[in-house]
């Protein structure tokens, strides 16, 4: 941390300050760093099994499936969720609504440490005898219901399920916290339709997660009963028939909204970056909010499009297919509106902007290629082939990596008080986009060729033999992609400790409230001042007097000095206004 934030009148011990902190910024950074670390692990797993695909026989079949499974689980639950919800949510929500901390700081800390425990369990599940679970991140029973028989990995499976349950619990705590914070702790003047789009997306994501994850928690409970007590909710024995399809329903009832849970914050990040880098108000702000709400509601009604050929009623499949097509309307609307925000702007190709533009372009591909999967007849052929893999990498990689890193480049000065190298960021973006397309785009062709997913060795098949070189191409791209990220990891860590110090708390000339705070914001964020909101969030391209000086934006609010400090602030600042003022000055100078 920078020297400025350590000038506390009320000093906390190292443990309370950095480890068991209740400060939303520290917790957010903890989430962010844990998530990025897990991203490296997940990426390394991807490398390992991709290597096996280029050179079949390097891994055993069981190891291959284990790495595939853990790659999926880690990237979804231990990377996307902590970075986008835990990291950005914690760091930005209180700042963007002008609050001093979350509504429940202790719950927030508990949420992170529950998450940390789930990481420990996840790692443990890999190391127990028998190895980790290898039945795919979707956990489909009966393969997962009797793991000892089918895969020889019972302790690993149980630990993975427990880790998942803890992770869900942690994110539930976080989600409740976000909603409570946004509902009750906005500063004066910040009405719901003046919330930054990112905050809207965060609370929508929190709601979606809360309502969708609970059936999966129930399903995981039943699955654990199947494993431990020998019940037959999801498995079929000679005398008693459970229903494997029921689990699929429960899983995808969660699984589809879950994609939006991570997609929404990513869209929020894009909205923030696009507006500030194109100097344009967000086009159709209210419509975009409603589009998000409608997409969220619809996302609960489309889950069975993952199961068109999995034994559901063919008539209901028609309904789900039509709903799936309808859900593309709010999302295409979002993308079109984002496009209009860009058009007519004055686009700065800064590092975060290149990342965000790349993410936007990849979203177009990801969204469009979802159509053949949502359309039920073509899904007969594409179901569980590499086409699905390509499609969800174009959506989920975009969400998890491209958008997140865009956000990291954008808010890094605010979070850490230092800069990430700008030119490196541009090269990083361009190389990442090239190598990412190098591994994800060929997968469309593999899917077209009818290449099923999760095959350790495609050479077992005559009709797939000729595509081995595609796998090698994809592997090479993945290696290069990973290498670029490794360099980024070094640069990231170096920048935290030795990057160039920022002098300007608002380097991007952005409007939202977090840019009013010092970089990095001190404990309790606002010192003896408090913002008051006077405008909507995206007042760019303003033709005022200041425009002649090159200031084309109106910050969302203004800072006011407080007449009387709130109790916890006074306690933290040592009760004296003069000291706190000097601290603010120090932090901002």
């Amino acid at each position: 941390m920078s020297a400025a934030s350590s000038a506390h009148a009320h000093e906390l011990s190292f443990w309370r300050k950095y480890i068991f902190s209740t400060d939303h910024k520290v917790i957010g950074k903890q989430y962010l760093l844990t998530g990025l670390f897990m991203a490296l692990i997940g990426g390394a797993f991807a490398l390992i099994f991709r290597w096996n695909l280029a050179n079949p026989g390097t891994l055993t079949d069981k190891q291959y499936l284990m790495f595939v499974t853990y790659h999926g689980s880690i990237m979804f639950f231990w990377v996307a969720m902590p970075i986008l919800l835990g990291g950005f949510g914690n760091l930005l929500i209180p700042l963007m609504i002008g609050a001093r901390d979350m509504a429940f700081p202790v719950l927030n800390m508990l949420s992170y440490w529950t998450f940390f425990l789930s990481v420990v369990l996840l790692v443990a599940s890999l190391l127990v005898p028998g190895g980790g679970f290898s039945g795919g991140w979707t956990l489909y029973p009966p393969l997962s219901a009797i793991p000892d028989l089918y895969m020889g990995a019972e302790p690993g499976t149980i630990l993975l399920l427990l880790a998942l349950a803890l992770e869900f619990a942690s994110m539930l705590m976080g989600g409740i916290n976000y909603v409570a914070t946004v509902f009750t702790m906005r500063v004066k003047g910040l009405t719901f339709f003046r919330l930054p789009y990112f905050v809207w997306m965060q609370i929508l994501a929190a709601f979606l997660f809360m309502l969708s994850v609970t059936p999966l928690i129930a399903a995981v409970f039943l699955l654990l009963m199947d494993i431990l007590l020998g019940t037959h909710f999801f498995r079929v024995t000679a005398e008693q028939a459970g229903s494997p399809v029921l689990f699929q329903h429960l899983f995808w009832f969660f699984g589809h909204p879950e994609v939006y849970v991570i997609l929404f914050p990513a869209l929020g990040i894009l909205a923030e970056i696009f507006t500030s880098q194109a100097r344009r108000p967000l086009f159709g702000y209210r419509t975009l909010v409603w589009a998000g709400i409608i997409a969220g509601i619809l996302s609960f009604l489309v889950w069975a499009h993952h199961q068109f050929v999995a034994g559901i009623n063919p008539y209901s499949a028609i309904g789900f297919s039509i709903l799936t097509v309808i859900i593309s309307v709010p999302f295409s609307l979002m993308l079109i509106y984002f496009g209009i925000t860009l058009a007519g702007g004055s686009i700065r190709f800064s590092a975060p902007m290149i990342w965000a533009l790349g993410a936007y372009a990849m979203f177009i591909i990801g969204g469009l290629t979802g159509l053949p999967l949502g359309a039920l007849t073509s899904d007969i052929y594409f179901h569980d082939t590499y086409y699905v893999v390509a499609h969800f990498h174009y959506t989920v990689f975009t969400i998890v990596i491209l958008s997140s890193i865009a956000g990291i480049y954008y808010w890094f000065p605010k979070f850490f008080g230092r800069k990430l190298p700008e030119r490196f960021g541009k090269w990083h973006a361009i190389l990442t986009l090239i190598f990412y397309n190098g591994f994800a785009f060929p997968a469309f062709f593999l899917g077209m060729a009818g290449h099923p997913r999760r095959y350790a060795d495609i050479l077992a098949y005559n009709y797939l033999e000729e595509f081995q070189w595609v796998h090698q191409l994809m592997t090479i791209s993945t290696i290069l992609l990973f290498a670029v990220q490794i360099v980024f990891a070094f640069v990231f860590i170096r920048s935290i400790f030795a990057g160039e110090q920022v002098t300007d708390p608002n380097p991007w000339r952005a409007t939202t409230l977090e840019w009013l705070a010092p970089s990095p914001p001190p404990h309790l964020n606002w010192g003896d001042t408090q913002p008051v909101v006077e405008h909507g969030p995206y007042e760019y391209a303003v033709n005022g007097e200041l425009a002649k000086q090159g200031i084309d934006f109106l910050p969302q609010g203004k800072l006011y000095r407080l007449q009387k400090l709130p109790e916890e602030v006074a306690h933290h600042l040592g009760g004296k206004g003069e000291q706190s003022e000097s601290e603010v000055e120090k932090a901002t100078s």
Partner: protein, 295 residues
């Protein structure tokens, strides 16, 4: 300041080395467009790869679910194995773990009753033809190389194979009047004499009886019971007349079907029994078809 340039350079070198490594190793398969059931063997892994290992891979892919991970006849599937008529059965144990005396009992052998081991040809015959009325399918498209590999693997599971000498099969002639009426009549009389005790009387409706086998349910003390074949309702495991003849002549190892009891029967009389059993099978089939047509 520009340490990250150095870092990227270093990473680039490493990555190029890795990619060169990746490209040096290019697997491919020798066979062109021959489509065969079974495992295609990688060229890099080598056609010369250990036959037993190849057999093990085939065993995992095609046999493990019923014959067990340890090949001890304990099925992987919790549904268990059932015959066509719904009776629970166990798959053959190749390791002798479940047998009381640690033996491997194969029903279809040329050594006669009590013979523990099957000849290579017997094993391949069963793999290729399958056992009817049981979940054992006939892997008839399997190439001879894969059959060899499977047999090699099965034979590696019990030390007894090492000393076992496969006897040469005796020659058998199928009579030309196999399904003639007089043979069926003779067979019926012999059946009433020799077989009804265990197999029941299918034509008068007496059911066959269940008798203990010489092996245990894995992990328990309870002896596996097996019901004698119901010729009217259940298919013969190997319906070929030669196999039926052989089964009667040599008995079934590990069960109470002891050929000593009918040692005095001539080959011709046994062929009559075969005729009668085939007649019963046809009867059962017609009955079933009639019942289905009435539905």
């Amino acid at each position: 300041m520009r340490t990250w340039w150095l870092l990227s350079l270093g990473a680039l070198v490493v990555v190029v080395l890795i990619i060169v490594g990746a490209l040096l190793k290019r697997p491919s398969y020798p066979e062109g467009d021959v489509v065969l059931v079974g495992k295609r063997v990688r060229a890099s892994g080598g056609q010369s790869a250990d036959l037993v290992e190849r057999g093990r891979q085939l065993y995992i892919a095609m046999c493990m679910t019923c014959h067990g991970r340890q090949a001890n006849g304990l099925p992987v599937t919790p549904e268990g194995l059932r015959t066509q008529v719904g009776e629970p059965i166990l798959a053959r144990d190749f390791t002798g773990q479940t047998h009381t005396a640690g033996k491997v009992v194969f029903k279809y052998t040329w050594q006669g009753w009590g013979g523990e081991f099957a000849s290579d040809e017997d094993l391949k015959h069963v793999i290729r033809e399958g056992l009817r009325g049981t979940p054992m399918p006939g892997f008839e498209g399997l190439s001879e190389e894969d059959l060899d590999a499977l047999v090699a693997y099965i034979k590696s599971l019990h030390p007894g194979w090492k000393t076992f000498q496969s006897p040469s099969p005796p020659s058998v002639r199928v009579p030309s009047d196999l399904d003639a009426t007089h043979r069926i009549e003779e067979g019926r009389a012999l059946f009433q004499q020799k077989c009804v005790t265990c197999h029941g009387d299918p034509e008068s409706g007496r059911p066959p009886i269940a008798q203990p086998l010489q092996w245990y349910y894995p992990g328990t003390d309870s002896v596996l019971m097996v019901t004698a074949r119901d010729f009217l309702h259940e298919p013969l495991r190997l319906p070929d007349p030669v196999d039926v003849f052989r089964t009667i002549r040599k008995g079934i190892g590990g069960t109470t079907m002891n050929p000593q009891t009918w040692a005095e029967l001539t080959d011709d009389q046994i062929w009559s029994l075969v005729s009668y059993i085939r007649y019963l099978q046809r009867q059962g089939q017609e009955k079933k078809q009639l019942a289905q047509n009435q539905e």
